[in-house]
């Protein structure tokens, strides 16, 4: 069944159609929310808020863009607002266990590397961090990022390049120590 048809059914109050749309897009929204927040509760809340807002505003969705693009736009707005209001980033601890998954070098070095890089990511201006996570961690194309953030494709490329350069500086500093 096409998304347009599902949307029409959701507007008529069909929960099953809603669930179908949700199943198609929620995993990716949740992944992005988690990558951005590093917090399971926040990622869950943001995903829920995203779909509540999407379904509530569905009658205003003109289907000029794909439903997925539209939902991701909402998701980004929700996540960025949540991050800003709660300011949890500074209080967040790096998941040391996860850092051990990097299968190079000894464990202590990897944990230090992960910790320093995480801190460097957190210190990046929001616009660079968002573009970097979307592109390098979640595999969004520059076109998709540009669409979701309402920016030019070239701007997305510049932001990712700038973020990478900053992180390379951190890595170099760590190696020089």
């Amino acid at each position: 069944m096409s998304e347009a048809h599902l949307i029409a059914r959701v507007l008529e109050g069909d929960r099953l159609a809603g669930r179908e749309l949700y199943d198609a897009h929620a995993p990716r929204v949740y992944r992005l929310a988690y990558r951005m927040t590093c917090d399971e509760d926040m990622a869950r809340e943001c995903t829920q808020d995203t779909f509540v807002r999407a379904f509530s505003k569905l009658n205003g969705f003109r289907q000029e863009a794909a439903f997925g693009t539209w939902v991701h736009r909402i998701a980004l707005s929700v996540v960025l607002q949540a991050l800003r209001s709660q300011r949890r980033r500074s209080a967040r601890f790096v998941d040391i266990e996860a850092a051990h998954d990097v299968a190079t070098g000894d464990g202590t070095h990897d944990a230090e590397l992960a910790s320093r890089l995480e801190r460097a990511v957190d210190e990046l201006p929001e616009i660079y961090r968002t573009a970097l996570i979307m592109h390098d961690l979640e595999g969004y194309t520059h076109a998709a990022i540009a669409d979701a953030l309402s920016i030019a494709e070239g701007t997305s490329k510049t932001r990712v390049a700038h973020a990478r350069a900053k992180l390379r500086d951190t890595l170099t500093a760590l190696r020089d120590q």
């Binding site: 929620a26 779909f51 736009r73 607002q81 996570i133 961690l137 990478r164």
Partner: protein
Amino acid sequence: MTSRDGERTSMEEERMDETIRQTLAASRRPPEPPLDAMWARIEERVFGDAKPPLVLHTRTSRWLTPTLAAAAALVFGVGLGWYAAPRNVVTPIVTLPAPTAATPQRTASAESIPSNTENAKTVTSTRPSRVAEPARDTRSIATAGTPDPAAARLASQFNDAGSGSEMSRYLAQTTVLLASLPSDHAATAADTAVATRAGELLTQTHLLLDSRAGSDPTLHRLLEDLELVLAQVARLRGQRNGTDLQLIHQTLTAHDVLPRVHDATIEASITD
């Protein structure tokens, strides 16, 4: 630097980028999404309290006819009043809600009808600044009295101001202005143009604060911060020193203004 050095640097950068990507992918690896639990909450919030279509019961219908008749009589009476009123009599055209502790009554006579946006600022400047105001219906503007092109223009501005497209346009223009703020300390000829534009956007900010869009708490706070920044920028004309610019940049940073404008732009494009 030779082309070989350049290639080596580029390869080294690519290796570093890959190390960074792998490290971050591992430390930010998302768990399995709790799809069912999240859907339960979404379903409850979106469909949970779905109400059946509104049906007028007999008891309501009994009151409906006389109410409609009274409303029709009222509309007819007001229309007759407009038609019969002498054209040169000064009549109030702006009617805003009755005064409360937070919102003093605001009225304007036909004599103070603004004929351009500069004058519009004088009307809106009576709004108590930086006070959380309840939503008010500005659609009543210019609905009484003789038709006047200036009043109609102002009313149209008020009505349009709340729309998504108008908001998007306003936010885009504000972003452009804030991005083009002078960076050096010395006053330049460009200051006047920037300050003039800021003044125009300040007027628009006032209109938006009084529109339906301004009743949204998040947007209201953003508009209030923009009001402050734009007022600072509008004062840049003529003599200024580094402190003026520093203050503007401090306000922008301290209140996260630009990221919030960006969010609002996305939001407006969603609702548009």
